[in-house]
């Protein structure tokens, strides 16, 4: 008999990882349901709900008209009344239409009832630039991080997509779950065993000693590409995938920065009032003054024009330049 253990992981795409998490959680808890545009027989705009309509029916995999505001409102109402809905918003730009119920009601419900009520809704949405223009490309996670009462996660791998979705569907209050169009074609390993990844835990994707790069979602791949190039020039980068933006695992970042002494924050969204600004501010509160630089989208809308889009969002060469400038190398 072979002594090799059976493989503990399986390669999956993002959509498969999400569908698996949904299927497991919908089986485990009959109060989990999905609402959104094209989520039913169509299987989701990115096929991330494939097979769920056939398995769970139209009551629990519920197509909605083009009405994001009311759909999020119905979601938080369902959540407040004891269900666990996932509301799918096809593009993150459209989450703005649902901000009133999500932020003015869902995020406040636990507080304003003195803990008697909660709104355990997951709003799943897809961010990022992929040729779709100024109102279909934005990364708005920093806006949401500033709202007390909302949890925000943004996985960069199918394994995290699976594990964080499991946690999102069991969480106490509103969760915004953000994936990214450019991550969909990239498969990754997902554990065969049923697992949930707790919120508030960053992960070191690459160990290094000269600079800490914090990032999330698709920009993790950009950071890893940049780190590879910088290694050729003798610069060692530690790349931290934040994964969970609220709550934020500042301890992991602090420990890394304590070793490297320099921080580069990287995000695809706006650098102004961005995720990186928050990370840097929290680090400054815990650590002696340190070298910090930020990389984010240029201060311009993200056009569908391929030249302008590429000029707007960060890429590996911008990260390389920023790290060199930061370190004076």
């Amino acid at each position: 008999m072979s002594a090799d253990p059976a493989p503990a992981v399986k390669k999956m795409f993002f959509r498969e990882a999400i569908a698996r998490a949904m299927r497991e959680e919908m089986t485990r808890n009959p109060r989990v349901l999905i609402l959104g545009q094209d989520v039913g027989a169509f299987g989701g705009s990115y096929r991330e709900f494939d097979g769920l309509f056939a398995a769970f029916g139209a009551e629990r995999v519920r197509d909605t008209p083009v009405a994001e505001a009311a759909t999020v409102g119905i979601g938080v109402g369902l959540a407040a009344a004891g269900f666990r809905p996932l509301v799918s918003i096809t593009y993150m730009d459209f989450i703005m239409l649902g901000f009133d119920p999500l932020i003015n009601y869902g995020a406040k419900l636990r507080y304003k009832t003195g803990g008697k009520m909660t709104a355990p809704i997951v709003v799943k949405t897809t961010a990022g630039a992929l040729g779709q223009g100024v109102a279909h490309s934005q990364c708005l996670e920093a806006w949401l991080m500033s709202v007390p009462g909302i949890k925000v996660v943004a996985p960069s791998t199918p394994g995290d997509a699976y594990g964080l979705m499991k946690t999102a569907l069991r969480a106490d209050g509103p969760v915004v779950y953000i994936d990214h169009k450019r991550l969909f074609p990239i498969p990754g390993e997902v554990p065969l065993e049923e697992t949930a990844i707790p919120f508030g835990h960053a992960i070191v994707r690459r160990a290094g000693s000269d600079v800490t790069i914090t990032t999330h979602s698709f920009m993790v791949r950009v950071a890893l590409d940049a780190a590879k190039k910088l290694e050729e020039n003798g610069i060692s980068c530690e790349v931290i995938d934040l994964r969970s933006l609220a709550p934020l695992d500042i301890e992991t970042v602090t420990a890394s920065v304590a070793r490297t002494g320099a921080l580069l924050t990287l995000e695809e969204g706006q650098a102004t009032c961005g995720v990186g600004v928050e990370v840097a501010a929290q680090i400054q509160e815990r650590h002696a003054p340190l070298r910090w630089a930020r990389v984010g989208a240029q201060r311009a809308p993200v056009s569908s024009n391929p030249v302008l889009e590429a000029a707007c969002v960060p890429d590996a060469s911008r990260v390389v330049q920023a790290v060199r400038k930061l370190l004076g190398k």
Binding site: P65, A67, A70, G73, R110, G114, G149
Partner: protein, 314 residues
């Protein structure tokens, strides 16, 4: 009038009087910011709540005190809530615009105009999926009918046949703006009709009319499903809030207050010999005592400790 019908009618009169007296006592307080009062609109709250059972839920906009009392929320804990005290139904955190007491069937107020409507549809969908025969009523003002949330929710409630009663308390004023200047539909109930809902407009100043309409609507929802739309045309006797400027003249206000839902009901019960002068006085005395007790309870309750600011955030 049968004995039971008479008792019910007196009970509804008692509740309208309680709302009026409770809000009048609250209006005298200047220690907790502005309040949104509903004098003139008591028949809408009481008539609507007469149609709701213990498993049903009511959601309202910010003008929520009357509906909360009509739903059976304890006046003492309501007063404490409105004054920001920890024995309030929401530990004094929710205040005028965000009261809730689910155990009383008052799912809650939400002071973003129109913001409660889609949430109510979510609660109604939960009730439908649970299949316990309960219904949800959502009470909003005419101001909310200009908001997209209503139109999106009417459509969804209609296609999903939600057990939801849309109730528009049309007092024809949105702070200072008059309904005729702001809203195009001839009747606001036409909005329900355009989505295929059974829709009615009734006199919101007449308790018996509102009661009959609300009970009929609730019966229809329970028997054949919803949603339904009920418009109640009412009068707001005071300004938008206790600190807002009144835009109507003294003469206009006197004319408006000339038609009072409480007085109308009192006259009706007298005419039917359902109530006598002695009983009227006893009723007024009883309500005065209850209101005084409610505010004494609130005054005796402490404010939250500042450290509570970080509890139950999320």
């Amino acid at each position: 009038m049968t004995r039971t019908a008479m008792d019910d009618a007196i009970e509804r009169l008692r509740m309208m009087m309680l709302i009026r007296a409770f809000e009048a006592a609250l209006a005298k307080r200047r220690d907790h910011g502005f309040q949104l009062l509903s004098a003139g609109e008591e028949a809408v709250a009481v008539g609507l709540c007469s149609a709701l059972g213990p498993k049903d839920q009511l959601l309202t906009g910010g003008r929520s005190i009357g509906p909360a009392l009509a739903r059976g929320v304890d006046p003492r804990r309501l007063a404490a809530e409105l004054l920001g005290k920890i024995d309030g139904i929401n530990r004094g955190r929710a205040g005028r615009g965000h009261l809730s007491d689910v155990n009383s069937g008052f799912f809650g107020a939400h002071a973003v105009v129109g913001g409660n409507i889609s949430i109510a549809a979510g609660v109604a969908l939960a009730k439908k999926m649970e299949g316990d025969g309960a219904l949800v009523a959502v009470l909003f003002g005419d101001g909310a009918t200009g908001a997209g949330a209503l139109h999106e929710t009417l459509n969804l409630a209609a296609i999903w046949k939600l057990p939801l009663l849309f109730v528009c308390n049309n007092n024809r004023l949105s702070v200072s703006a008059s309904r005729s200047d702001m809203l195009a539909p001839k009747m606001l109930s036409d909005l329900g009709l355009s989505f295929g809902l059974e829709s009615r407009t009734v006199d919101g100043m007449d308790l018996d009319t509102v009661t009959a309409a609300a009970q009929s609507a609730a019966e229809t929802i329970r028997a054949v499903g919803g949603p339904l739309f009920l418009e109640c045309v009412s009068e707001r006797f005071a300004a938008h809030s206790t600190t807002a400027r009144e835009t109507r003249t003294a003469d206009e206000l006197a004319a408006i207050r000339g038609c009072c839902p409480i007085r109308l009901q009192m006259q009706r019960l007298r005419a039917a010999s359902a109530i006598e002068a002695a009983a009227e006085n006893a009723l007024a005395q009883e309500i005065e005592t209850r209101v005084a007790e409610a505010f004494a309870f609130a005054d005796a309750s402490p404010y939250p400790h500042p450290e509570e600011v970080l509890t139950d955030v999320g």
